[in-house]
């Protein structure tokens, strides 16, 4: 069932260039679907497909999470003029795995007077929010768990759910630092959701669709960040800033400001529960970056320059999945660069930035974009 939706939407058209047929994943997913359908009833087919997707995402989540932790440590080390992890394996690539193994063995400390149900629930909510957002992201042509026709809205809505986990964690920990951290996080996400939504709406106006696969398809002639003139670029910058804030990272990591609140909302967590929060932070970063890559930078679309036929053909040789991963990691690198350069904002300045700067600029930006689209001035 799930694969059906995918294949129906991105079936190759006859006029498609060769690479689109060659790199299309929908034939693979379709063949799996048919073979499963032959073997069992439609109900069990759906269940099996869901299981396969679930396991694949679990693996993907773990691999990407671990890799991002390693990448962050290496990037920040190089920016800080040091080597970073270099003991476990060549260049320390197994460092995060070693850390994970250690975290698995760490005792889960029960907190006195904590609301133990909510305390245990919180890390799962944070993780589940990440998982759900992952479902709608187009990784490559036809590689899509579920292609909702309101994909953008779904991703924004679901990824904002993580804050409930953060709030619960802070509330149930019976720790004053945690509570302050959670409250900060709540205030922060409520305000920055607005900017994230508006900056994406700027692009939705340009694309004329909320379906992520269609947004990607619409960028075949050129990425939206180039096609939408200055408004698209401003929207991209605003999206970067506000999504960094939404993931509690970089200069906006007030919820876990270690110099003020020791570790903020996850002060009391240990072992694998802490690892969940830790992984979720990196996964949220990945999701946010992949939305940025999909909506602004053309998703898995190769980089094409107008009439340079030779150049375009060379670009076509690179598989779409690598385009997508490359763009995502570029955005992630930008976010790491922010984090390791800037000092942290204060809570009132954080809200000032949102309500006095980002929101007005965003509103004007949406207006300009709508005008440009109306007049047909975009490329």
């Amino acid at each position: 069932m799930l694969f059906d939706i995918v294949s129906a939407n991105s079936a190759p058209l006859p006029s498609e260039p060769w690479w689109r047929v060659f790199y299309d994943f929908s034939s693979l997913t379709q063949s799996i679907n048919t073979s499963l359908n032959d073997a069992m009833s439609p109900f069990w087919t759906t269940v099996t497909e869901m299981l396969i997707i679930g396991v694949l995402f679990l693996l993907f989540y773990a691999v990407v999470g671990l890799f991002l932790v390693y990448a962050e440590r290496k990037v920040c080390a190089f920016m800080q003029n040091r080597l970073g992890p270099n003991r476990v394996g060549p260049f320390g690539i197994f460092q995060t795995i070693a850390d994970l193994v250690k975290l698995l063995f760490v005792e889960l400390i029960p907190i006195k007077n904590a609301d133990s149900f909510l305390f245990n629930l919180a890390p799962f909510i944070v993780i589940i929010a990440g998982f759900m957002a992952l479902a709608a992201i187009p990784f490559a042509m036809g590689l899509h768990a579920i292609d909702l026709n309101i994909g953008v809205l779904y991703v924004i809505a679901v990824s904002a759910m993580g804050v409930i986990g953060v709030l619960l964690a802070g509330w149930s920990s019976n720790n004053k630092y945690s509570l302050i951290g959670a409250m900060r996080s709540g205030a922060q996400i409520v305000s920055y959701e607005l900017s994230v939504g508006l900056s994406i709406i700027t692009i939705v106006i340009l694309a004329g669709s909320m379906q992520l696969s269609e947004i990607v398809e619409a960028q075949r002639a050129g990425w939206f960040i180039f096609r939408g003139h200055i408004p698209a670029f401003i929207a991209f910058i605003i999206f970067l800033i506000s999504s960094t804030a939404e993931t509690n990272r970089g200069p906006f990591d007030l919820a876990e400001a270690e110099s003020e609140l020791t570790a903020g909302y996850h002060t009391e967590y240990s072992g694998i529960k802490f690892a969940f929060f830790f992984l979720a932070e990196y996964m949220n970063m990945f999701i946010v970056a992949s939305i940025a890559a999909t909506v602004f930078l053309g998703g898995w679309m190769p980089f094409h320059v107008g009439n340079w036929v030779g150049f375009n053909i060379i670009m076509d040789f690179i598989p779409p999945f690598f385009w997508y991963i490359g763009k995502t990691f570029f955005v992630i690198f930008l976010m790491m660069w922010f984090k390791w350069t800037f000092p942290r904002l204060r809570i009132d300045q954080l809200l000032t930035l949102e309500w006095k700067f980002l929101l007005p600029i965003n509103l004007v930006n949406v207006l300009i974009m709508a005008f440009i689209v109306l007049m047909g001035w975009h490329f």
Binding site: Q80, T341, F342
Partner: protein, 159 residues
């Protein structure tokens, strides 16, 4: 109007100042040659400490197993922490005189603060600083060291 211009100016100035900071970190990111980290346990072989480095107090012995310590106890008096203890004995010299000599020069590394008062005040320059710094041991008793080697003698000509 002016307020709008100021508002825009504020934004441009802010973004510009942030870019300057990013330039610094970015430039280091793309110049890994400037990294100063030393991979310590790997470079143990060619790691040379400065010759004045105060690693631990030692008593140099010559090849005939002779040292210069007369057992006068000045280092013991000067040590602020009592990390030096001198146990002396009386020996009979060749010409039949009784003389005080050192039996054990006990040095407690765990208590030493490396103030160098003992080395500086030693009248016969019998003790000196060595450059070794890997002092970690599993038993506290191992930090109590006897500086004079067993069977060592006072060097000829040192009073």
């Amino acid at each position: 109007m002016r307020s709008i211009i100021n508002y825009l100016k504020e934004i441009v100035f802010g973004v510009w100042s942030l870019m300057k900071g990013m330039k610094v970190t970015g430039s280091y990111f793309f110049r890994p040659g400037t990294i100063v980290t030393q991979k310590y346990p790997n470079n143990r072989k060619d790691l040379v400490m400065f010759d004045r480095f105060k690693g631990e107090v030692v008593m140099p012995h010559n090849e005939k197993n002779e040292h210069k310590c007369t057992g006068c106890g000045i280092c013991e008096i000067n040590c602020p922490n009592g990390s030096i203890e001198i146990i002396s004995k009386s020996i009979v010299t060749e010409d039949g005189k009784k003389k005080r000599a050192i039996d054990k020069h006990i040095y407690r590394l765990g208590m030493c603060t490396f103030c160098a008062l003992c080395v500086k005040t030693c009248p016969s320059n019998a003790i000196a600083f060595a450059q070794g710094f890997e002092h970690a041991v599993f038993n506290r008793a191992l930090l109590i060291k006897t500086l004079n080697k067993p069977g060592s003698q006072l060097m000829k000509g040192v009073e």
